[in-house]
Amino acid sequence: MSMSLSDFIRQLATDPNSQDPEFQRARNSAPEFVAAASESARFETSLRRAVLVPVPANWLAQLKETSPATAGAQTRRRYYAMAASVFLVIAAAGVTWRMNAMKFDSIEQYVTYHYDHDGEGVLARADGQQADNIEEILSEFNVRLAPELAGKVTLIKFCPTPAGMGAHLVVNTPSGSVTIIFMPDMLVADGEMLAFDGMQAQLVGLVRGSAAVIGTPAQDVAQLHALVQSSFIAESAKT
């Protein structure tokens, strides 16, 4: 018994690449089947074009360098250089996934979410050596770090913030590593303390944007307030 047109169209909308013999035989069995198959093929082409979004340049190279086996300092430098170039390529190509696509009700919600997402993972990735790509990353935001803080940064990477791209830093302190989320386009209540999931964060107003300094209560992140506030220097302040 041959397939009905309605069953055929349903199959097209379910599994258009099905190799079922009856489905394949039906494709050319009558003009209305041919027309339906043709229309489905056109829709599937559009669907594929819609979902197969462009992949950033060098993405596979970045991915391969994710393995710990290749994560040496030199590799990390290349990775961030590529990340910066990818960022520019994406912008230039017009593939502009909106970086402010995240909406949160409060800065506390964002900081909590962000740290919960990858805070511990990023801390674990820091190898204790001074990061060698600080200038490269922060120059994206026309900011540099004063040497006193820069010398303590063991990892820095781009990260999303509710107002666009930011930076995620791991800083070595006498009480262990703490996290700094740099939010170049966000204003916060300077000095406000947040607490979440056994962690503590202090918001710091900067000459450009703001930062959240995150650590355990024992690390007393408030001690870092003055250092952080004075260390993010706008490039225009360069002499």
């Binding site: 559009s46 197969l52 979004v53 992949v55 391969k64 919600q109």
Partner: protein, 175 residues
Amino acid sequence: MSNDTRRLDRFNALAQAYGMDLYRYALWLCANDALAKDLVQETWLRAWKALDRLNSDAAGKSWLITILRREFARTFERKVPKFTDVDTVEVPEDSELEPGDRLEIQLLRRNIQKLPTRYREPLLLQVVMGYSCDEIAQQLAISKSAVMTQLFRAREQLTKRLQQDGVTGNVHELV
């Protein structure tokens, strides 16, 4: 060849085979480029650590998708960020595309993001990852008939929304 070299070669082969599709899949899940990259890289780190548990490279795709979906659930679903609709992906300039086709693709992207998760996820597994209905059923731990219904509903809703958006006349008509 040392064991470490073999392991790295195997890892790189997986990246070569599935890295681009995983990024696309993650991008649709996260609706945000930076988060998608983070998600795939976290997936890759976990995959590297567990690589010895992957018995067959033929199972690599579903193994990676499983890790990615688990990682997505772990990191994103506990505190769901409020994403805006994904209507900001600009279609790259393509001289082969007619303006009407470009509009259709733009609208499709927006409408795919608006699909309920139960419809969107099987559709993405099918179109982005090339999964069969059986593979989708296995990945999502639902029946094949449920997968087929969801795929049908996904395309049906996309078609209806395209028509509501005014893209008519050349849209696949579902009965």
